[in-house]
Amino acid sequence: MNQLTTTRQAKLKELRSRMSWQDVGPFAAVIALMILGTTINPTFLSAANLTNVFTRSAFTGIIAIGATFIIGTGSIDLSVGSMAAFNSGMMIIFMNYLVKTWGASWAVILAAMGLSMVLGAVGGLINGFVITKGRIESFIVTLGTMGIFRSLVTYLADGGTLSLNLSMRGLYRPVYYGTLWGIPIPLIAFFVVAVAGAVLLYKTRFGRYVLAIGSNYDVAHYSAINVNRIRTLTYILQGICVAIATIIYVPRLGSASSTTGLGWELEAIAAVIIGGTAMKGGSAKIWGTVAGAVIFSIIGNILNLSDAISQYLNGAVQGLIIIGAVLLQRTSKDQ
């Protein structure tokens, strides 16, 4: 056979077979929504608005990157929103405490960031441990911890709001509102987390084991994969993603309360699934998840940019667009 000419053809073909509609679909949906947004209100395309939209997607987006791994193994984590609230609360308390002795300095912020990472990792570890050692459905365990984390933050805030010390707030603010090379920092963080997630998922053993477990638990077990360890690690990873999201979130409003992060879990899971990851596990698409998070953010924005329909129906429009976005991907794939 003619090796040389076929190699190039094969490569092209391989590329095409790798890039299926399922991969492109979510991005097509993003573009379709952007066109819709522009049609409804040309302001949509303004730099300021687009920056807002993308920046907002960072929280759920970063959390959803972690959720991609969890769902890749065929599990679920409902506790992320509450965990974010709890982490925020702890960071604020910690900073307010440190600032008294250390003064308002970056050291305080760095220490709080460290705390957040530790808390996230430990929270994830607890979830993972109870799920794997107790052999309980992840749905139940994380429903439980969801309640626990939310209660704890309510308790810490005495039912009210935990507010960051004003002097700290000024110092910390740029982490959300600042830019680097003209790009908002949350967006950079989102991108970095996504790249790290993609490397982890597609380029490391860990990622491969995640998908193997999601595809077939027994096969993974028989392939000498330490299933419990990998599953626990996905929860720790999820916890760390929550911690990163929290670190960016706190400087935004400088406060935490019992409503912080409410509903983020559903948004994150929806972003993952809109992105093309299957709920039953075995496949996972990091960039799809990124698109999914952006889709969510755009939908919210579009609803605020138009007053054509009754605000009472916002939820309905949102629901329809979500279903439509997914439907769009599915049918175009078939053709």
Binding site: A48, R56, G159, T161, T259
Partner: protein
């Protein structure tokens, strides 16, 4: 224990700032009353929804055998029947904030006036803007209370040249307040004022306005009396010139008068209407409680 009087207190769970305040004041008052009147027992329960609150009423009666109930209803209508059930069992009823939809159930009614809150906000808005300008409104969650406030507000500004550019629900939530305001700012090049109705939402709005660098263009009217906001008013913040009081401490009023009914001969039956006071830099110090979480 025969002569011990049991008072049940049923309030919404601390799911946002204002209800957090309610919880705080209820707990503080519970402590105080218990310590002051040893023959009073006070059971405090919270609920996350109207249906759950109906459950807590059943439990207060079946388990704790209460003599009196102090309730801040989640919503007026769904709780009217369950409260009436207790009334028929001979329980003394105190209703706080949201009135029941049937006459004659409440022995004591401590009314927070949601209509007034909207009206006072609207009146200030008209005055401050000189009856002319473009504003945006951020509402709470779709409930009757929210409707009262909004409708009264709209009634006041009707006929003036104040134009509501758009309104959206911000769910009494800071993050939603922030996002909705971001989008309003992107959409409308000129906004003269914001009615945020709630101090939690107002805090989100402030950050969005700051981010857009449009602090000098507009002012914000919140509501409820959160300590941070009262502080800002006190300090003469240009962005937050006033706040409209809707004090969560009203639950304390309800509990105190109910307790009085059992520990003294004072006549307490009837209605107590709490004003929706306009907090201005002049009177702000009267409403500033730095120890409250709210």
């Amino acid at each position: 224990a025969q002569d011990k009087v049991v008072i049940g207190v049923s309030i919404p769970a601390a799911t946002h700032g204002w209800t957090g305040g309610i919880n705080y004041w209820a707990r503080v008052t519970q402590e105080r009353l218990k310590n002051t009147y040893p023959n009073l027992e006070i059971i405090l329960v919270t609920a996350g929804s109207a249906a759950e609150q109906a459950n807590t009423l059943e439990d207060l009666y079946a388990i704790h055998n209460i003599d009196a109930l102090v309730i801040l209803p989640f919503e007026s209508d769904p709780l009217t029947d369950p409260v009436e059930m207790l009334k028929m069992q001979g329980v003394f009823i105190t209703v706080v904030d949201r009135g029941l939809t049937k006459e004659g159930i409440a022995d004591i009614y401590v009314a927070g006036d949601n209509h007034a809150m909207g009206r006072v906000s609207g009146e200030y808005m008209v005055e401050a803007l000189g009856g002319k300008g473009d504003i945006v409104v951020l509402r709470g969650i779709p409930t009757v209370i929210d409707n009262y406030r909004f409708d009264s507000f709209m009634e006041v500004i009707e006929g003036t040249e104040i134009n509501v550019l758009d309104w959206q629900y911000a769910n009494w939530n800071r993050d939603d307040g922030f996002q909705v305001m971001q989008d309003f700012l992107a959409r409308f090049p000129k906004i003269d004022a914001v009615w945020a109705q709630d101090d939690d939402v107002a805090l989100g709005v402030i950050e969005a306005v700051k981010q857009a660098g449009r602090e000098d263009e507009l002012f914000i009217v919140g509501g409820a009396g959160m300590k941070e906001m009262i502080k800002r008013v006190m300090d003469g913040d240009r962005l937050i010139p006033v706040d409209v009081l809707y004090p969560p401490a009203m639950i304390a009023t309800g509990m105190e008068v109910t307790a009085l009914r059992f520990v003294s001969n004072a006549s307490v039956l009837g209605e107590y209407i709490l004003d929706a006071t306009l907090v201005t830099p002049e009177n702000a110090h009267l409403y500033y409680f730095p120890d409250s979480p709210f």
